[in-house]
């Protein structure tokens, strides 16, 4: 460093952590400046103190200088950084305005490996497979589900526990929770499953929840996976309550919906409540691939029970929140936001849309979101609470700028997903012509983005909307999960083990 007047760490001078965001650096500096600036503080030593802080600020606020500084921090001064958080905004400065305005924030979090710890294996998996065995599953669907279940049980590690629940209008525990690696008996029981009866999802989930709790440890990866092809009636509220209870204990709930006749709105909601995800199975043969991937992801979980505890600044409203990676899905707008688990080496990516109320001219800085990222790393038996703060300065005439490509890239796809949601809302209100126009807009964008196959599905649905007074059930799912699948998955790849 240029000045040798103060040997203390630059982060310590500002009173911030080494993984402080740019906003935090700026805030810490402003706070200190208000207190110590030579114009306001004439106490002896205050000026020198201020110069030290200013020097620290000037290095840390510049990403290049900061990186160079970070490299040269003596190891003894360097505390282990558990995470790296990168926040990008659609605009670096908010404009003073008498109107409300939108601002987007893209938050990327990476958990850094701890060099002091040897490579601990991921935590044991404790999972319940809740299989729909109603009449509609008869044939290829159930056959493939059964074959995949047997295959997956064979792949489980000795420390993993699994249970299998078969449900129609009743739930039956086909295999109780336990370690069933290489169990002929368990395989025989799966083979014996056959399809009949209706679909009452709550009964299946309730039994699955019970089984997961039998081998539940907070340090395990606890998850319920529902596989269904049918609508459930009248028990939606019970399902939601169960999901909330599961989320309380850190048990995730993910679903695979097969074909067109299942309630995607409900199953997506259950995923949002628990930090799980919901996948659409277009062809039965995809079941094996999707289920295997899902289980692999869970087996490789590094961080668990991630959530964001937050409050909005005054005059700020969270309007939309979406998890882009590791698995995409809508997020709750209420704190705490459940974010699921993170496989090793993956990044968590979240996009927030905030509405900023009119900003009067005297406001110089807007606090958007203040909160904490919470997560567990079971292999280290550690819980983390990482403060996160989103704020922007406010100015009358901010310079024009191009929004971050991370935001525009994600939004160009996410916008199509949201327009699809709008079209479905309109259909439910009987506004068919509006919905049809909207679908055509989606199709045009899909063609421009090089997705002719999905564009064709959308156009076919738009053409039949008047006659059918609705989208086809299959079409709804293909458009919803098709547009969702366009979202960039970032670096997140889980190696097949």
């Amino acid at each position: 460093m240029s000045s040798m007047s103060d040997e203390t760490n630059l982060y310590e001078r500002l009173g911030i952590s080494e993984y402080a965001s740019q906003d935090e650096i700026l805030r810490a500096y402003r706070k200190a400046a208000r207190r110590l600036h030579p114009d306001v503080n004439v106490e002896a030593g205050a000026t020198e103190h201020f110069i030290n802080i200013k020097e620290a600020y000037e290095v840390l606020i510049d990403p290049h200088k900061r990186a160079a500084y970070d490299q040269n921090i003596p190891q003894t001064q360097k505390p282990a950084q558990p995470v790296r958080i990168d926040i990008q905004y659609s605009q670096t400065v908010i404009q003073h305005s008498t109107e409300p305005q939108l601002i987007y924030a893209h938050i990327e979090m990476e958990i850094l490996p701890d060099p002091t710890l040897s490579d601990e294996p991921p935590p044991p998996l404790n999972v319940a497979l809740v299989l729909d065995t109603s009449t509609s599953m008869k044939g290829a669907r159930l056959d493939i589900v059964k074959a995949t279940a047997i295959e997956l049980i064979r792949q489980l590690r000795p420390q993993d526990t699994v249970s299998i629940i078969a449900f129609n209008d009743k739930a039956k525990i086909a295999i109780p929770s336990g370690s069933h690696a290489n169990s002929r008996k368990a395989e025989g029981r799966i083979h014996a499953l056959h399809a009949r009866g209706g679909t009452e999802i709550f009964k299946g989930l309730e039994a699955g929840f019970k089984e997961v709790q039998r081998n539940y440890r907070p340090s395990y990866t606890n998850h319920i996976i529902l596989i269904t092809d049918g609508h459930t009636y009248g028990d939606e509220k019970d399902c939601q309550d169960l999901a909330d209870a599961a989320a309380q204990k850190g048990i995730g709930l993910s679903s695979l919906g097969i074909g067109g006749r299942w309630n995607d709105v409900l199953l997506d909601d259950l995923a949002t409540r628990t930090g799980g995800n919901c996948l659409y199975v277009h062809k039965p043969k995809d079941i094996r691939d999707l289920l295997t991937k899902k289980l692999n992801r869970l087996q490789q979980a590094y961080a668990e029970q991630m959530s964001l505890d937050f409050r909005c600044g005054s005059g700020i409203n969270l309007n939309y929140a979406f998890k882009l990676a590791p698995e995409s899905g809508a997020l709750s707008l209420e704190s705490p936001v459940k974010l699921g688990s993170l496989p090793k080496g993956n990044h968590l990516q979240v996009l927030l849309e905030l509405i900023v109320d009119p900003m009067p001219i005297e406001v110089k800085e807007a606090l958007l979101i203040d909160g904490d990222f919470l997560f567990e790393i079971p292999s280290k038996s550690a819980s983390y609470q990482i403060p996160i703060m989103l704020c922007r300065s406010v100015d009358a005439n901010p310079p024009p700028e191009t929004p971050s490509p991370k935001i525009t890239k994600a939004l160009s796809k996410l916008t199509l997903y949201r327009i699809q949601e709008k079209a479905r809302e309109e259909i439910s209100k009987g506004e068919l012509a509006k919905a049809s126009t909207r679908l055509k807009y989606i199709a045009t964008h899909l063609l421009a983005q090089g997705e002719p196959e999905l564009a064709q599905v959308v156009l076919t649905e738009a053409a039949q909307i008047e006659e059918r007074q609705d989208l086809s059930e299959e079409g709804k799912k293909r458009i919803k999960y098709g547009t969702r699948a366009l979202l960039p998955a970032g670096n997140n790849q889980v190696s097949e083990s």
Binding site: S97, Y104, T402, P405
Partner: protein, 171 residues
């Protein structure tokens, strides 16, 4: 408020895409980096005789008749069979990616456009065409008119922005 140019819907300030029709509402300034050429820059003609002999291609590209040799980094890109290829660079979120992506070779800094030029190989005949690029394409230092085909000889140097590519043709 921002009025959507496509559907006229009134969006809040700060919106990046129209929530009703998906139209983009912000200005894209991802233009190709402008390159300053010095007025009297000397054109270094690389004669065909000074050109390297056609290098031996790797096994799977044995039938290559033409190759692109990057003079700055000394990398070689082999072109397999007869075809017309687009040359340019890729950016995040770009819909159309060129067949030959020069991004790894500092294409952006060198002023290469996203779709800069094409190179067509037909038997022993190789032609190049500038696609109306921001900084232009030069053949042995001479600027090519856009959208017109120009015949390339073995050892000719195509300059895309500031990036020099020597075209090698197998005899």
């Amino acid at each position: 408020m921002i009025s959507c140019p496509q559907c006229k819907y009134q969006e809040l300030n700060g919106a990046l895409f129209c929530s009703q029709c998906g139209a983009q509402l912000y200005e894209t300034t991802d233009t190709t980096a402008a390159i300053e050429f010095s007025e009297n820059r000397t054109v270094k003609k690389i004669s065909s005789s000074a050109a390297p002999t056609f290098p031996s291609p790797p096994k799977n590209l044995e039938d290559s008749k033409a190759a692109i040799y990057l003079l700055d980094t000394e990398d070689t890109i082999f072109i397999k069979g007869d075809k017309e290829l687009t040359i340019g660079r890729s950016t995040e979120g770009q819909a159309v990616v060129p067949d030959i992506d020069l991004s790894p070779f500092d294409a952006y800094e060198s002023g290469v456009s996203r779709l800069h030029a094409t190179l067509a190989v037909k038997g022993a005949q190789v032609t190049a065409k500038d696609l109306g690029s921001a900084n232009g394409t030069r053949l042995n230092g001479k600027k090519l008119s856009a959208h017109a085909e120009h015949t390339i000889q073995h050892g000719d140097v195509l300059t895309l922005g500031n990036l020099k590519l020597q075209i090698l043709i197998r005899k």
